[in-house]
Symmetry: C2
Subunit: 340 residues, 2 copies
């Protein structure tokens, strides 16, 4: 399998490190030995290497912030589309920054790659939330796969569980899908102010300098729309889904709730209803007996409800470069194994 | 796909009901429409029906405790082996009662079916704990599948997650794999005596008249050996694994622990070590912050540890005829889809 990476930021670096560590095991266990034959990044440059890049050198180039062109054939002046076209990759790994309003530039790259008969793996929520079904249909039309395990719960293998483990339709999904706000709520419950909690989350790398997308619920919204459309077969646009974040919560109430047997969580939910699939994101005061109430810190959790299982809950890491890199690797392995 | 059911007890009945309820969805979504062409049960009789049995009538025969021979061609005097041979099924579903010491009669049925070139799905822990690797090798040799999702955590799709969702080796698994003892511990913590808790579990159908296999840890032992050998690639026999149940626990200590920030759980664990894969079963006093400490009642949970994900925990129902029937259906669907 020959890979072309479009975007080489933190997730790309995490992916390269995980592949480097587990490449031997994957080759032995599954005969799976992918080669990275092209990397394109707007800031870090472009490299084409038909024989495959050395993973240790590729990781070092990221750590030392060096131009990728030093690693092989430079490919000067090539844009992402040209790299996808000229790399002769079987699979395009789309890892450019997320834009939840337009899905670009990832959506364009993904359409172009699928239409060229290349599989696509992405961790970018934008194009999947906005155009997920269209992109899946395009992949089917061209006989290739479009996989996006890393878009929801990062490396926790949620879509694999849903795609390959269940034999009945899911009625409802409900979960904690944003680790940043969960960390903030856990810290506020322990007595921190919102500002103190946010500063700590930023220090630990859980929150960005501009935390709007997390704290206003937009990140959880994109994720629940992905689940609503691609797991529950709904047809929702993000703008149609009611969404409240945690900034309106009273910190004193967050602190007090556990003494009354409750805990505030930012809950995202999607379910089948008489009016089709509906979804929402907002803070909820959960009884402590709810499994979601027990999920603290930066963890994510999702409860799937279906007959006859009742509730099945998956808890795992929801963010992190290597964790998300594992999701990319799992998607590539599924393509290698012909799982679909 | 044509199915032959060997054993038609509670799990078989649960499977038939779940297939009946979700058959339309499975046919539409996956083009999957299995027919049950033979059922053999020592107590309930035998039916051969090459055109496929009506599921509602098959379920009713169970409820009304009628002889299966009334449903079609009687097949008088046929034993399980003859039914497997003469049914022309593609898949044998082995659901006879579990014997953790010998694995029989299931092991013999499974060997015979695999050697005849038929896929096998089972929920029977005995043959998988005792002969799992041998049976998998036999399946590979004959180009068929051997699947056993229902043996651990019943319908909670644990093996699917492990088989199809991960791209790195698991280091350790650790969980609550016996719902009966978890129910008993939860009830004892709430103030019941051991005898009261057991009586209630028996009333609810969580515990058998002779609860030995559950309360002495033998059921959890069989499950952790399955995980040790088939997930961690170990080579353990049940008799080699240290195993303690819950009967030696002091009820007062179980009640007191939460006030000190702990909770007693029967924990099964298997891990890779310098000496190969090792496993154990026994009561542990877990801090309340451990995700396993939050799993109450008859639920099961398993935490998988692997690089780079850290811990991923799956929580779901660990027992019940329909829940286990769903596991059979999921395994059959995987075979239909060619997932492996």
């Amino acid at each position: 399998m020959r890979l072309c990476l479009i975007g080489y930021g933190r997730v790309g670096y995490g992916f390269v490190r995980v592949l480097h560590r587990h490449g031997g095991w994957l080759a032995q266990r599954f005969g799976f030995a992918p080669r990275i034959v092209a990397v394109h990044d707007l800031r870090r440059g472009t490299v084409l290497a038909p024989a495959g890049l050395d993973l240790a050198r590729l990781a070092a180039a990221w750590e030392e912030n060096r131009d990728l062109g030093e690693l092989g054939e430079r490919g000067p002046g090539l844009d992402a589309f040209a790299v996808i076209r000229e790399s002769e990759a079987d699979v395009v790994v789309e890892l450019t920054p997320t834009d939840l309003r337009t899905g670009e530039p990832a959506a364009g790259h993904i359409r172009f790659a699928l239409a060229s008969g290349k599989h696509v793996v992405t961790t970018n929520k934008g194009p999947v939330a906005l155009f997920g079904k269209e992109l899946l249909a395009l992949a089917r039309e061209h006989g290739v796969q479009f996989r996006f395990e890393g878009t929801v719960m990062a490396g926790t293998p949620l879509f694999s569980l849903v795609d390959f483990g269940l034999a009945a339709p899911i009625r409802r999904v409900r979960g904690i899908l944003n680790g940043t706000t969960n960390f903030l709520l856990t810290a506020m419950e322990a007595g921190r102010t919102y500002a103190e909690a946010l500063a700590e989350a930023q220090r630990r790398g859980y929150a960005e300098a501009d935390p709007t997308a997390d704290v206003e619920g937009h990140d959880a919204l994109a994720k629940i729309v992905i689940l609503a459309n691609l797991v529950l077969e709904g047809d929702l646009r993000p703008s149609e889904v009611p969404c409240r974040g945690i900034t309106g919560l009273d910190p004193a109430e967050v602190r007090r709730a556990p003494r009354e047997g409750f805990r505030w969580k930012l809950v995202a939910e999607a379910r089948r209803s008489a009016d089709g699939v509906v979804a929402q994101v907002g803070p909820e005061r959960l009884p402590l007996s709810d499994p979601l109430a027990q999920v603290g810190g930066a963890l994510n959790a999702l409860t799937l409800e279906l007959d006859p299982l009742g509730a099945v809950t998956l808890v795992g890491p929801g963010a992190g470069p290597e964790v998300t890199g594992h999701a990319v690797l799992a998607d590539l392995l599924a393509i290698h194994r012909g799982l679909r």
